[in-house]
């Protein structure tokens, strides 16, 4: 038994405490001696490679059977919602993009859509901005599902699934970098439109990626779909039927794996999703394997949408990407200079040398921001994990009065208990991986 400086005594009122940190298992069983209890409480995480982030699991085990499973969360709480109350409406985008770090564009989109509804400019958003939002959200869905499948594979020992998953994700991140300048934390979708136009050559890169990804998706299917080991680990694990999903508020792939085709992109479309051709993917097994198949098929649908969006963008060259209202739109376009990206030199020349009024306007809009009429809005979007919605409240000021994010990871993680109790310890990992919680979104 190793000595743990943080847990001095191993005798508590709740029974003997063991600290297991990778030593020989025999030393534990020797220590247990004759009076071994069958029922043990195992604390797993928050620093554990299989808990999908800083998630803490408290498992009550009898042998290898899980009797009770509870989650401890909050280890990644950063007060993003509180911070947003002290920044302007536009700056809010840079905060919420950091919540669910695997689907930043969705965080930005639901926030921007809520603010736009309060501003009553939903109909004024330029078409190109909407198409760009759809394009990036669908690329993001692919990268997010890839991480889900990759890490899920790693956690059950399928390391090849992980390496190929991250290989393809890297390609998507390259596209993000090309379009927004950053691999994550983009702050690209902003109230009123998007931050900047597509760079030259981006459409070709996107088309190349789609062509490549179509081949690669088939490889995933060939590698996993009928793989007996993969299926044996995933099938009938983490079972949750439709009634359970609705009661626990689960949305996204877990809900669709019960056969119910609920997808906000179809049922309550936003950003013009009603004009794209795609299918809602479902499965009917209510288990982890079903959720894997739903995600895999959704990536194919996302590729279809990306293709359509790219075609539309080809016909929208030089179209505006921000609302025309100069009291909302950021005053300058970004440009690449010798020292990196910044305000375009034309704009600097204009405000510094030509127009005092333009300088005042720039200063006011950047430091003070715009006012949003008092009220509240909730415009959810279908994120890779389910219904993601921002409850945005304004008191008529230049900063959010309150922004609350209904994060699907947070809600879906509640299903851990029902999905894993009564099963084996090893299946807890599979069940959680099939929920695909991202702790940045859970804890915010």
């Amino acid at each position: 038994m190793t000595q743990d400086v943080y847990a001095g005594s191993s005798e508590t009122t709740q029974g003997k405490v063991f600290t297991v940190t990778g030593q020989d298992w025999d030393s534990i069983s020797e220590d247990l001696g004759e009076g071994a209890e069958e029922r043990v409480v195992v604390n797993m995480g928050p620093q554990h490679p299989s808990t999908h982030g800083v998630l803490r699991l408290i498992l009550e085990l009898e042998g290898e059977t899980v009797k009770e499973a509870r989650c401890g969360i909050g280890y990644l709480h950063t007060g993003i919602e509180k911070n947003m109350e002290y920044r302007t409406w536009v700056q809010g985008t840079t905060f919420c993009t950091r919540m669910d770090y695997l689907s930043p564009f969705f965080n930005e989109a639901t926030y921007a859509l809520g603010v736009e509804r309060l501003l009553d400019i939903e109909d004024d958003i330029p078409e190109k901005a909407q198409v760009l939002r759809v394009l990036l959200m669908e690329l993001n869905r692919i990268s997010s599902h890839l991480v889900c499948i990759a890490t899920g594979g790693m956690e059950i020992g399928a390391l090849t699934v992980m390496t190929i998953g991250f290989r393809e994700r890297e390609l998507v991140l390259d596209l993000f970098e090309l379009i927004t300048g950053l691999r994550m934390n983009h702050a690209y979708i902003r109230p009123g439109g998007v931050a900047q136009d597509l760079p030259p050559g981006a459409l070709d890169e996107i088309r190349d990626f789609v062509a490549l990804m179509k081949k690669r998706l088939a490889e995933y299917a060939a590698l996993c779909n009928a793989n007996p080991i993969f299926k044996a680990r995933l099938e009938n694990v983490g079972h949750l039927d439709l009634a359970g999903c609705l009661a626990l508020g689960l949305s996204g792939p877990p809900l669709r794996s019960t056969g119910y085709p609920w997808d906000l992109r179809k049922t309550q479309p936003y950003c013009g999703y009603e004009t794209y051709e795609f299918d809602v993917q479902t499965w009917d097994t209510c288990d982890s394997y079903g959720r894997f198949r739903v995600r895999l098929a959704e990536m194919g649908e996302s590729l279809k949408i990306v293709e359509q969006a790219a075609d539309r963008l080809a016909g929208l060259e030089d179209a505006p990407v921000m609302v025309g209202d100069k009291k909302i739109a950021w005053p300058s376009q970004l440009a690449i200079g010798s020292d990196g990206m910044g305000n375009s030199l034309d704009h600097i020349r204009h405000i510094m040398g030509e127009s005092m009024e333009a300088l005042i306007h720039h200063f006011k809009l950047v430091t003070e921001g715009f006012r949003v009429p008092a009220g509240q809005a909730y415009v959810p979007v279908e994120s890779p994990r389910g219904e993601l919605g921002a409850h945005v409240v304004s008191d008529g000021g230049t900063r959010p009065f309150r922004a609350h994010f209904r994060d699907p990871s947070f809600t879906n993680l509640q299903a851990t208990s029902v999905m894993s109790e009564g099963g084996m310890v090893a299946d807890v990992i599979v069940a959680i991986a099939s929920i695909d919680p991202v702790m940045g979104g859970v804890d915010r």
């Binding site: 969360i73 709480h77 509804r117 309550q268 009220g375 947070f410």
Partner: protein
């Protein structure tokens, strides 16, 4: 800096009530306070005159019938069923703003209303997107609001329920019995706002550590400043920095 801020005080202390500053013809029923000045500067040589601005903060007004669209169907069905159960006054008012409908519900009736909304065939709000707290320090007697977003997948409709409680008595009945998904959401709202959801099976903190003092999302929660290594200077907490109001 700090003296300036003490001076701001509450509106009551300064003898200005919302009703006194509202333009004629506008409603004050949803006013939650007043906004003063513009540049966040007080007591200095502000010669612009904007520092003297006093503006009421008024939230969207109560809507009158007909609401339009499916809003009337939901309101009718809810009203009829509430009447059957002797809960005619459960819905205090209805606000429609930007195409979203909000039912303000008396807090003691929340579980009954939620159950009706979930189970009645004409309503069928089977999915709850959780609860979000909002703290309105200026809304006297109803400072704490709990906002529930409900979704009917059957009818493809969304509504919002809003319940309020005073700071002095921060109790709201739990609806975990109706929507089990609200378990964690109510814990989060308790954690962040100190709203006590009566009847919740295990109302403990969820995001903050168990022994954390205070409820961080409340508007009166003290924020920390940052000491900087320059002649003993410090960066004031965000709520005490000069900002546009």
């Amino acid at each position: 800096m700090s003296d300036e801020h003490k001076e701001q005080g509450s509106d009551k202390e300064r003898g200005t009530r919302t009703q006194d500053v509202v333009r004629a013809g506008t409603t004050t029923e949803n006013a939650v306070g007043v906004r003063r000045g513009m540049f966040g500067a007080r007591g200095s040589g502000d010669t612009s005159g904007y520092g003297g601005l006093v503006d009421p903060i008024v939230f969207p007004a109560t809507s009158q019938r007909p609401f339009g669209g499916w809003f009337d169907e939901v309101a009718d069905a809810l009203e009829a069923r509430l009447g059957d159960d002797g809960l005619e006054h459960a819905v205090e008012r209805v606000v429609i703003h930007r195409g979203e409908i909000t039912f303000h519900v008396r807090r003691e009736d929340l579980p009954s209303v939620a159950r009706l909304l979930r189970d009645d065939e004409a309503l069928r709000f089977e999915f709850c997107s959780g609860v979000s707290g909002v703290h309105y320090p200026g809304d006297e007697g109803r400072e704490l609001h709990a906002v529930y977003h409900l979704l009917s997948m059957t009818h493809n409709r969304r509504i919002r329920l809003e319940v309020s409680a005073p700071d002095a008595d921060p109790h709201i009945p739990s609806i975990v019995g109706v929507y089990p998904t609200n378990d964690w959401h109510e814990r989060e709202t308790f954690d962040m706002f100190g709203i006590i959801f009566d009847g919740h099976p295990a109302l403990t903190r969820i995001l903050m550590p168990d022994d954390w003092p205070g409820h961080p999302q409340r508007k009166d929660y003290p924020l920390g400043g940052i000491p900087v290594e320059y002649k003993g200077g410090s960066i004031p907490p965000p709520d005490e920095r000069r900002s546009y109001s």
